[in-house]
């Protein structure tokens, strides 16, 4: 953020108020890379991305500096609490007829929000991400979720940015043998009253926890890969909800209150209010150890049957004001240099979407130099991730959860 001109911008904005800000449609053709770079120069990209983590915010600040220095593109990180609000903003703009000059240029997204934006025609409709220069390094074969986002084909409408997998954390000094399955988790809760909880759905990570349980508990997990079927929903999810009925009275605060986000969950873990925490970023605990929030003895692990994993992306809305700049930023975020930096535990610790083995030697060296945090499971320990269910399941499960446990 520029620091001094706040007052200047205020005046400028006041001058623009009555006229509205005019936007111009841009060609933004990723197949003409030099042309795209020329178009991007001087643009300001409003990148709407979750802002709840200092390491991530710092990483994006670095990316913004590099973008300004290398491409003359100004990047403003709009710190978002919940990506659903971004989807809503774009949808509201579409409803109001604003087809150019939109307020969102690039959005950090995946899963349900991507599905919603794709379904409602809120994304730039021509494929662009698979034409970016750095896309050739993406590990589409080894990491199938880079092209299939929550079972929805990506089709070049979003650019892969990082890998995520649900990872649990425990303090090895106090909990030597943490639960590694849904059944073990219930047994642990019964033996340790009030020491477990999860973020309240529809929080993203809280909902993922429910999906993790569902993948383990439903009779045939394969049905979760298909769109939800109204007729069979109750029957399919019955094991999940009878499990939750059994678990809830043993939860932290007897399930009468829940943390509102995965970061709030981590804070409770840091305060020793609960015994287990989990996050989608395998390096979350390592980051917190490095900054003194968590004890050194915290370790990460996954369930014996594996945990849900996915890819997170960046997407350009249909009415982006700086589409060219947004694509250049997406390409930069996918570059081996930016990806290796992101994977370094000292920076963020977010696993790469690239096929490291296939990279040029110089770039391979960057990844070799990246450190892995003490509490971050190795790729071998993470194993192969379980697939995300079709997004329609999540909407239904969240609604059913709220009716049962979120409305007293």
């Amino acid at each position: 953020m520029p620091q001094i001109p706040a007052a200047v911008r205020l005046l400028a904005a006041a001058a623009c108020l009555t006229t509205g800000l005019a936007g111009s449609a841009s060609a933004a053709d990723p197949s003409d890379w030099p042309g795209l770079l020329a178009e991007a120069k001087g643009e300001t990209v409003y990148f709407h991305a979750w802002g709840g983590s200092e390491p991530i915010n710092d990483y994006l600040a670095w990316a913004a500096r590099e973008m300004a220095a290398r491409y003359g593109v100004t990047v403003e990180h709009v710190k978002v609490g919940d990506t659903a609000t971004v989807v809503q903003t774009v949808l509201a703009e579409k409803s109001a007829g604003r087809t150019t000059g939109g307020s969102v240029d690039l959005v950090w997204i995946n899963g349900e929000n991507f599905a919603a934006m794709k379904r409602q025609g809120l994304l730039r409709d021509a494929p662009w991400a698979d034409q970016l220069p750095n896309f050739r390094y993406v590990d589409t074969a080894g990491k199938p979720t880079t092209t299939l986002d929550f079972t929805i084909p990506v089709e070049g409408l979003e650019a892969p940015w990082g890998m995520a997998q649900l990872v649990f954390f425990h303090d090895s000094a106090t909990v030597a043998a943490p639960p590694k399955s849904a059944a073990a988790l219930l047994a642990y809760a019964e033996a340790n009253l009030g020491r477990l909880t999860y973020p309240q759905p529809p929080d993203f990570v809280g909902s993922t926890f429910l999906k993790q349980l569902a993948a383990e508990l439903v009779a045939d997990p394969a049905v979760l890969q298909q769109p939800v079927d109204d007729a069979s929903f109750d029957a399919v999810t019955a094991p999940l909800f009878s499990y939750l009925d059994a678990l809830t009275p043993h939860l932290w605060r007897q399930g009468k209150a829940y943390p509102q986000s995965s970061t709030a969950l981590m804070q409770l873990f840091a305060d020793d209010e609960i015994d287990l925490s989990f996050a989608f970023n395998p390096a979350a605990a390592s980051n917190a150890i490095a900054s003194g929030e968590l004890p050194e003895s915290v370790r990460g692990y996954v369930f014996d049957g594996g945990t849900i994993g996915n890819t997170h992306f960046v997407a350009v809305p249909f009415n982006a004001n700086a589409a060219a700049g947004a694509m250049v930023l997406a390409d930069f975020l996918m570059s081996p240099e930016a990806q290796a930096r992101k994977e370094d535990a000292a920076v963020w610790g977010d696993p790469t979407v690239l096929a490291v083995e296939a990279l040029p030697d110089a770039d391979k060296a960057r990844f070799a130099a990246a450190t892995r945090g003490v509490a971050t499971p190795s790729p071998a320990e993470l194993g192969r991730a379980l697939p995300e269910p079709h997004p329609s399941w999540m909407e239904r499960i969240e609604a059913a959860w709220t009716a049962r446990y979120g409305a007293s």
Partner: protein, 571 residues
Amino acid sequence: MARAEPAAAGSPALGLFPVALIALLAAPVLAGLAGVALPAFGWLPALGGERLSLGAFAALAERPGIARSALLSLWTGLGSALLAFVATVLFVAGFAGTRTFSVLRGLISPLLSLPHAAAAIGLAFLVSPSGWLIRLASPWATGWTRPPDLLVINDPAGTALLLGLAAKEVPFLMLMTLAALGRGGGAATAMVTASLGYGRVTGFLLAVLPRLYPQIRLPIFAVIAYATSTVDMALVLGPTTPPTLAVALVRLAADPDLAVRFEASAAALLQLGVTASALAIWMLGERAAAMLARRAARRGRRDHFDNALAAAGLAGTGLAAAAVGAGLVSLGLWSVAEQWRFPAGLPDSVSLERWSAALPELVATVGTTAALAAASTAIALVLVLGSLEAAERRGSKGLAGAGLIYLPLLVPQVAFLFGLQVLLLAAGVTPGLAPVLLAHLVFVVPYVALSLEDPWQAFDRRYARAAAALGASPARIFWRIRLPLLARPVATAAAVGFAVSVGVYLPTLLAGGGRVVTLTTEAVARAGGSDRRTLAIYALAQTLLPFAGFVAAALLPRLVHRGQRAAGGVR
């Protein structure tokens, strides 16, 4: 009362001020209400709603927990206002004029500048089971080596929210009560009742309060309207299963499925109904209390457990001040804590690393926040002073359309802001600094007017008449006599306006589309985050900025007067 100038002398330009004032304040509120009322009944062509229906209300009623959310808002809002009012009145009744009074008043006044979000965050740090209080008492007194599983904050009944709101509103009600007391000749009445043998509290309640109350009624209504519809305090302290109506409404309005917009609009009308019901219940309570008071006065009993009531007032206000103050101290500790594990009473190690890491962004955010606050306060001062001066020259008493000016204080923010957002979008206004500035004005102006109206009316008009007799024009009288003599209240009003602008959350979020980052939006956004130290830094900054405004307000008038004396302007 004779006027310095006849009405005709009012310049036409000055006549525009009251119009601008009302247009600026009432128009957004009324337009915003229309913007939610129409979709609530199914009318929003942009989203395909072209037929009036009650479908949105039916869908809302189907939503799990919505009735409980509405009841929670009513209960926490009314309960907190009542608690804060009773504690304030009993304390003032029992201790006005004593040393205890001036000491506690000195402790409470700075808390006025404390934004709601920072107060809530500090309280949460203080009283949660892993909070500072239990850390201080553990394990030596409690035996706890890990935090107990106690439902203290976020309890489903909203008790924590109720108490937090009450603690935060005590300083505001106290200031308003003291200002009214200064005007009403309360001290003289108290002497009369004392000479008739009445106890301090009984005498105050039966003789002083009935005349005092009408003057603090509007601030109390503002407190009720705020407390029944708060978002930022409820997000930190409030229940989650389900949340209060205002929080549920914000979530509905953020649903990616725009069809839910209709339901959100219906929820906004429900919120309006909840706040209106709270005000109606309060007014019924006013009547009941007045009846009881008259009966008690007729009976003539001189003492109604006066000492116990006074002690309760002292305990209530003292606790409120102590809790909010200790919350602030715990914020300060967390902001420098490197490691602070349960049950250590103090951080295991401290460092300024977080402050230096946060500084670059903090400076930028403080810049935006201060620029917005300064701009909105300056515009508000011009508008309010211009309107007061216009009323003065017209020879009318008080501001024109005062009821409309205070509308933004009585209509819940969440009820009209979403409607306003839809209208702004439909009008093609890009979210950004300018809409945020306008949104801030809607809330800054009423508070500036509230702070300025009384001192303006209390101004001794003989000065103006003497100046007019010496041939001074109305403009000269305004600039050289009235304004300098009112420098202190103007500075105080500016500080209040500045503090309001710094603390405004939802209007900033909605009108800014997330792009306009202020200390308050950052603090609330980080309240859900994991790094408590960065959160503490933002909450502290959010507190210190308006506090600096109040300090400046106390110092500036002196400089103005000194400068004038030096220039020989006014003797």
